[in-house]
C-alpha cells in the first residue's frame, strides 16, 4: 500500500506533468529541427512564432466564446487552432519572403541567418506584445479534469490521488496524432520525400528536379503548424504569457540538440528527456521518501535537488553534457 501510494504520488506530480510537458517540448523541437534540416540554421524566432500562433488562436477563442460557440467539455481553443495555424503560416511565409529568401539566394553564412532570425524574433515579439499585451491571458474553458484526485482516491482506496487535467490528455493525444501525421507525410508522400532528400543533400536534390521554393514553403508551413499547436497546448496547460514563450527557447533548443539537430525522431526523444529531467530534478521528494521508508521517519528537508527557479539550468546542463560527449546528439543529427 505504501509503495502504491508512493507511486501514485510520483505519477501525479512527476510522470503526468512530465509527459504533457515533454509532448509540448517535442512539438516545439520538431519545428526547430525541421527548419534546421531544410534551411540549415537554428531559428531563434521559433519561441516567438509559438507566441504569435497562440495569440491568434486565443483571439479566435475569445471570439467564439463571445458568440457562444464551444466544444462542450473540450476547450474552445481546439476549434480556433486551425485559424491560428493558418495565420501563423502566413506570417512565417511572409517573414521568409521578406527576410530569409534573400540570404538563401546569396547562400549566406549560417550565422547571418541566426542574426536575421533574432531580428525576426524582435519584430514578432513586438507585434505580439502590441496586439495582446505582455501579461498573462486566460483562454482555457470546458472541463478541467479527466480524473480528479478525489475520485481516484475513492476508486482505489489509496490516500494519494492522481489527477489528470483535460489539457494534459489533449496534449498527449494531439502530440501522437500530429507526430504520426508528420512521419506519414515525411516518409510516404512525394513532398515529404523531397523534403528529406533536400535535407540530406541539397545539390543532389536540386539536380533531381526538386523545386527548392516548394520544399522551403512546405517546411515553413509545417513549422508554423507545429509551433502553433505546441504553443496552444502549452498555453492551455500552463498559461499564456509572451515572455514565457521566449524562455521556452532554451529547453526547446536543448531538446532538439540532445536528440540530434535535424533528426525528427531525436527531437521527440529529446523533448521527453528534457521534460523528465527538468521535473524530476526540481520535484521535492519529501513525501515520497516518507512513504518509501518504513516507520514514522520523515526527512528534515524538502529533498529537492534543485529549486524550480533553476529549471532552465537542467536543460542547460544536459545540453552541455551532450555537447561534451556526443556533439551530434543521441540520434546523430545532420550537422557537425
Amino acid at each position: 500500500m505504501e509503495i502504491l501510494n508512493a507511486l501514485a504520488l510520483l505519477s501525479n506530480y512527476v510522470f503526468v506533468p512530465a509527459i504533457a510537458y515533454g509532448s509540448q517540448l517535442a512539438l516545439g523541437a520538431l519545428g526547430v529541427t525541421l527548419v534546421f534540416g531544410i534551411l540549415r540554421f537554428s531559428n531563434f524566432a521559433h519561441g516567438d512564432t509559438m507566441a504569435f500562433g497562440t495569440m491568434v488562436t486565443i483571439l479566435f477563442t475569445w471570439w467564439f466564446q463571445s458568440m457562444g460557440i464551444n466544444l462542450g467539455p473540450l476547450p474552445t481553443a481546439l476549434l480556433a487552432l486551425p485559424f491560428g495555424i493558418a495565420f501563423c503560416a502566413l506570417f512565417v511565409l511572409a517573414s521568409d519572403r521578406l527576410v530569409y529568401r534573400f540570404y538563401r539566394a546569396k547562400r549566406a553564412d549560417p550565422v547571418i541567418y541566426l542574426i536575421a532570425s533574432v531580428g525576426v524574433m524582435f519584430v514578432t515579439n513586438g507585434i505580439v506584445r502590441f496586439i495582446i499585451g505582455p501579461d498573462d491571458q486566460n483562454f482555457a474553458d470546458g472541463e478541467r479534469f479527466i480524473i480528479k484526485a478525489r475520485e481516484f482516491k475513492k476508486m482505489t482506496g489509496l490516500s494519494e490521488g492522481i489527477s489528470i487535467k483535460v489539457s494534459q490528455g489533449i496534449t498527449v493525444v494531439t502530440m501522437i496524432i500530429v507526430v504520426t501525421a508528420l512521419f506519414w507525410f515525411l516518409n510516404k508522400t512525394r513532398s515529404g520525400k523531397s523534403m528529406r532528400a533536400y535535407s540530406d543533400n541539397e545539390d543532389l536534390a536540386l539536380l533531381s528536379g526538386i523545386n527548392p521554393d516548394r520544399v522551403v514553403a512546405i517546411t515553413w508551413i509545417i513549422a508554423a503548424a507545429l509551433a502553433t499547436i505546441a504553443g496552444t497546448l502549452y498555453g492551455l496547460d500552463k498559461s499564456y504569457k509572451p515572455f514565457t514563450y521566449f524562455q521556452l527557447l532554451l529547453p526547446i533548443f536543448a531538446s532538439a540538440i540532445v536528440g540530434g539537430l535535424g533528426n525528427p525522431l531525436g527531437a521527440i526523444a529529446g523533448g521527453f528527456v528534457i521534460a523528465f529531467s527538468e521535473i524530476m530534478v526540481t520535484y521535492a521528494y519529501k513525501k515520497f521518501a516518507a512513504y518509501m521508508v518504513p516507520g514514522d521517519w520523515k526527512p528534515d528537508g524538502l529533498m529537492q535537488l534543485l529549486s524550480t527557479d533553476y529549471k532552465f539550468a537542467v536543460s542547460f546542463i544536459i545540453l552541455l553534457l551532450v555537447l561534451l560527449v556526443r556533439p551530434n546528439g543521441i540520434f546523430r543529427g545532420t550537422g557537425t
Binding site: F122, F316, L324
Partner: protein
Amino acid sequence: MSALRNVGYFLIMATLIVLVGQFQSWNLALSILNLCLISAIMSLGVNMQWGYAGLFNVGVMGFAAMGGLAAMLISVPPVREAWSAGGIGVLMGVVALILTIVAAVATYRKLQAKRFGMIAVVLVCVVGYFIMRSLFDPATALIEKVNPASTGYLGGFGLPIIIAWPIGGIFAGAAAWVVGKITLGLRADYLAIATLGISEIIVAMLKNEDWMTRGVKNVVGLPRPVPYEIDLQNTQWFIDLATRLEMDPVTFSSIFVKLCYAALFTVVLLLVLYLSEKALRSPWGRMMRAIRDNEVSANAMGKDIKARHLQVFVLGSVVVGIAGAMLTTLDGQLTPASYQPLRFTFLIWVMVIVGGSGNNWGAVLGGFVIWFFWIEAEPLGTWLMEVLTSQMDAGSELKAHLMNSAQHMRLATMGLILLVTLRFSPRGLLPEKTGRAV
C-alpha cells in the same frame, strides 16, 4: 572622404544630444549620454566577439549581470552578524564546490577514453553536489534569517566601487571561459544557444540566491564613486559656482554628478577603444580576421583556431562585464529583475550591426545612436499613436489599447532596424576597414 563622413556621424550624434538638452532638459540629455557611453563599451565587447572573430554570443545579458554582481559585492559593507551566522558554512560550501569541480575535471581527463568514464564524472558531480548542498543549505538559511527586511545577506567587501569594474570584467570572463571551453569548436549555433542558457542561469542565480544578492529584494544604495547631490548643495564652493553660472544649486548638483559619471565613463571608453584599436591593427588582430574570413586556411597556417576563439570570446566578455559593473554603479542598485534579454542582449546586437561590425568606432557610434533612439522612441511612439488615433473616440477601447501598447512598438522597430541594416547595408554605418591601407 570616408574620414569626413565618420566625423560627421559623431557630430550629428553630439548635436542630437545637445538638442535634447536644449528642448527637453540637460538632466535627461546627460542621462542619455551616460547610458550611451556604457552601451558603447558593451558593444565594443560584443564587437570583439562578432566583428573580429565572428562569434555569435546571445548571452550578453548574463555577462553584464556578472559585472553588476561584482559591483555590488565589492562596494557594499559586509554584514557582520550574517558572517558570524553562516559565513563558515558558506565558505566550506564554496570549498566543496571547488573540490567537486577539480575532482570532476580530473576524472574527466583520466577516464575520458574509457567506456564508463562519463558515468564516473557524473557520479563525482552528483556526490559533490550533495556534499555542497548539505553545507550550503543550513548556512544560507541562517544568513537569510539575519534581519531579512534590511540585510539577510552576507554583504560585500566595503571597498571603493571603482575597483569593481575590473573585477566585474574578471567575473564575466570566468563565466565566458567555461562556456567557451565547452562549446567553441562546435557549430556556431551551439555557442549561441549555450550563451543564451548561461545568461538565463546567471540571472536566475541573482534572483534566487538571497544570501548573496538579496534576490528580488534588491540591494539599493550602493556607494558612489562621485559626490552626492545633497553634500554638494551644502558645500560653499559649489554654491558659489552655481551662482556664478546663474543656475539653481539643486538642478546644478544633479547635472554636476552626472557630468562626473560621464567623465569617468569617457575615460574607460577611451581606454577600451584605444586598446581595441591597437589590438585590431596588430598582428593579433590580423590573425583574428584571417581566422574569421577563412578558418581552413588559417588553420593550415598553423593558427590554433579554438584557442584564439576562446581568447577573444573571453576578452569580449570581460569588456561587457566591465560595462555591466559600470551600469550598476550608475544605477546605484542591483536589481536582478531588471536584466531583460531584449534590453541587454539583443539591443546590444542591434548596436553592433548598425554601427558596423568589425569597426570599433562603428560599435561606439552604434551604441550612441541605438541607445538614443531606444530612449527617444518611447515619447516619439506615444506621440505618433496620439496623432494616428486623434480621429477616434476619446473613450474608445481600441484607442486606449493602442495608446497602452505604443511602448511595445519599439521592440518591433529595433528588430526592423536590425533586419533592414543586415539586408541593405550589412557593413553598417561605419564599415570595417580591411587591407593594408589603414
